[in-house]
Symmetry: C2
Subunit: 390 residues, 2 copies
């Protein structure tokens, strides 16, 4: 299997930009990725593109892949849209890795984009709802926050955790996001702010939920044969794992863990030949604060039922043993659905290159990204490793 | 690059089945594909799934990949939805080929599904419209038939062709489809029927347009290392090509050809090391009759401006020099958008195995499938070759 390397990555700021379009945002992200390649690259050297988007809001739904890649100046190349709800661009990056490993492409672009803030509240609720199961969740009235609220309730019932732990996740991620110029909600919040916010879906309050964001991100993947043309300090895709689970929460064996995350992580660790302890940092999918706690356990950062103790210990803060969501995470950095997975990888590239500024993780050499679709119907995990003097 | 082989393929009948669901249809197609593997296969041996669907009608939009693969009994494996409008499952098959060639899967399932007939006429028109360009085509009032009508008008203006040639395509494809039990409109039509039908979008009449169908199809792709476990007479994926083009017709240099089809075909021929003359049959994307004429030229079956002469000569009929759409094509077999590309390959597999019954192409050893997204924003071409006594 030939190796795949990340040679560049970039993103737009995440935020409320209702005046922007899919095309304009995606083009900005592609430009950022191209400009981040150390030894330079022309758009014409890209062999293939994969675009993750949920198509929220009913803009260019059919053919949104070619629509945005053509606009970004990548004329004529194969361009495929992939969708796995909020894991769309995590899967896009995985597909770019496959394209490169297959020998059918030397350089592939994977990205994602979403425009969410030019909709009415009802439309936003509808489109978020489509990430859940349609017939027996959305159409029976469950909101997407309601799905994660059920997971939180189950977790609190089973383990000695409380909403205070969710608020701790929010405080940590806002503290990190305040150091990220690209963050949608780039401000700090106090534990009181996070504790006393209005309820969204009990036990989740406003600070336990990520915002609805616009944005785009893009990642450039090169084969081991081509990588030398672009950089001698690439990021190796050491391991990739992906897995599915029943889409409806009610169809599953457990509400207090996501099987797809566990299986994806196990595969990624196995392919990379590492253990969770080897990681220097992680970007995990905290669409709701409970999701970050579940991720700690599903990804093996701690034992089952111990996630609330891990966040309480401070180990996942910047400067802690395993900083999680140094970017601010979905909570503070923002969550433009289709852009999130590629955006996590853009953050990981910044960290591995030592370019993360005030939120830099010290000696970051090995990082993980974890992107979840819906309430766990799909998950994809990448293990990324910095190579120096290749 | 390790070789990829098709070891099985199947489809549901295409037609009006509004009582069926995405899940039920996809499961039937997967079962048909599994049952078609000569030496047998268990669902558990499938490493990965790729599902093409446009998500017409707003059913399970987010996570429709995992939703249908889980229902089909393919639990836990990576499942990605891909979308390139009507080329969704052609791209899904290409992605399965990449998965296998990358070494990340030994056996991959690619399929597609669409349920279109349980919608109101307005909804169907909306969802078809999303295959075109949104802002300056659909929202300004152009229907999807209207887009192809513009291409037909331009073709008639430029070359010595008339609507009579479109009707000849309809008569040929209905004659073939009448021999296909899976066809949606499996009846013959006379040239008078096809000539005198009500206008849909001038110069296209009802018989120049494919129907709105329900259905699903699935294809199993195995690596060269694994193929021997399943059959000693597999179908080799000799060549794959894919390309994009500007989504809006008005953005292009020409209305009388589809650049993406030309580029995809050139790549597929090149990788297969063949010329169009070597082909024994082809399944091409005749969403409208004009699209079949353009395909003849874009795929190199004849020179530019000669397609109307080719259909007139009878060369593309069953028994002709190069039978095109022996299945009945989208016109007669039907067009459940996301299922069409995989359905074309299921037909090609039948032909290459000599299992096509009354519509069997004699000595079929090398075939082509051509799947177009929208009005040509994306295209994907597969060249498939029968291997005997591998």
């Amino acid at each position: 299997m030939r190796e795949a390397y990340i040679i560049g990555a970039g993103q737009t700021p995440f935020g409320a930009m209702p005046g922007e379009s899919y095309r304009s945002l995606f083009t900005d992200a592609v430009d950022a990725a191209l400009n981040s390649v150390p030894d330079g690259i022309d758009a014409g050297e890209i062999d293939e593109a994969v675009v993750g988007t949920l198509g929220v809001g009913g803009r260019q739904i059919g053919l949104s892949g070619p629509a945005v890649t053509e606009h970004a100046g990548l004329h004529g190349i194969p361009s495929t849209r992939v969708e796995n709800a909020c894991a769309a661009s995590g899967y896009a990056v995985r597909q770019a890795v496959q394209a490169v490993r297959s020998g059918m492409a030397d350089v592939a672009l994977a990205g994602g984009v979403e425009v969410m803030t030019d909709m009415s509240g009802d439309a936003a609720k509808y489109w978020l709802g489509v990430s859940g199961e349609t017939e027996w969740e959305r159409l029976t009235g469950t909101t997407f926050a309601g799905v994660y609220a059920q997971m939180a309730s189950a977790y609190f019932d089973r383990y000695d955790a409380t909403p205070e732990h969710l608020s701790q996740v929010a405080v940590k991620n806002h503290k990190n996001g305040a150091k990220n110029d690209d963050a949608h909600l780039g401000f700090e919040c106090s534990i009181e702010d996070a504790r006393d916010a209005p309820v969204v879906a009990d036990p989740l309050n406003l600070y336990h939920c990520c915002p609805t964001s616009d944005g785009a991100a893009a990642v450039l993947v090169a084969s081991e044969d081509a990588v030398g043309e672009y950089t001698d300090e690439p990021i190796r895709v050491a391991g990739v794992g992906a897995a599915s689970e029943r889409v409806g929460l009610f169809q599953r064996d457990t509400y207090t863990g996501i099987d797809a995350s566990m299986e994806a992580a196990a595969e990624a660790y196995d392919r990379a030949g590492i253990e969770p302890d080897d990681l220097d940092f992680a970007e995990v999918h905290d669409c709701f604060a409970i999701a970050e706690l579940l991720a700690y356990e599903d990804l093996g950062f701690c034992g089952r039922g111990e996630a609330h103790e891990l966040v309480d210990s401070g180990a996942t803060e910047l400067g802690g043993e395993l900083p999680v969501n140094a970017s601010g995470g979905l909570k503070s950095k923002g969550h433009p659905l289709g852009a999130t997975g590629a955006g996590q990888i853009a953050e990981a590239v910044k960290q591995l290159r030592g370019e993360a500024g005030d939120r830099q993780v010290e000696d970051a050499e090995l990082g993980l990204t974890h992107n979840v679709g819906g309430s766990g119907g799909a998950a994809v995990v990448h293990v990324l490793e910095r190579e120096v003097g290749r």
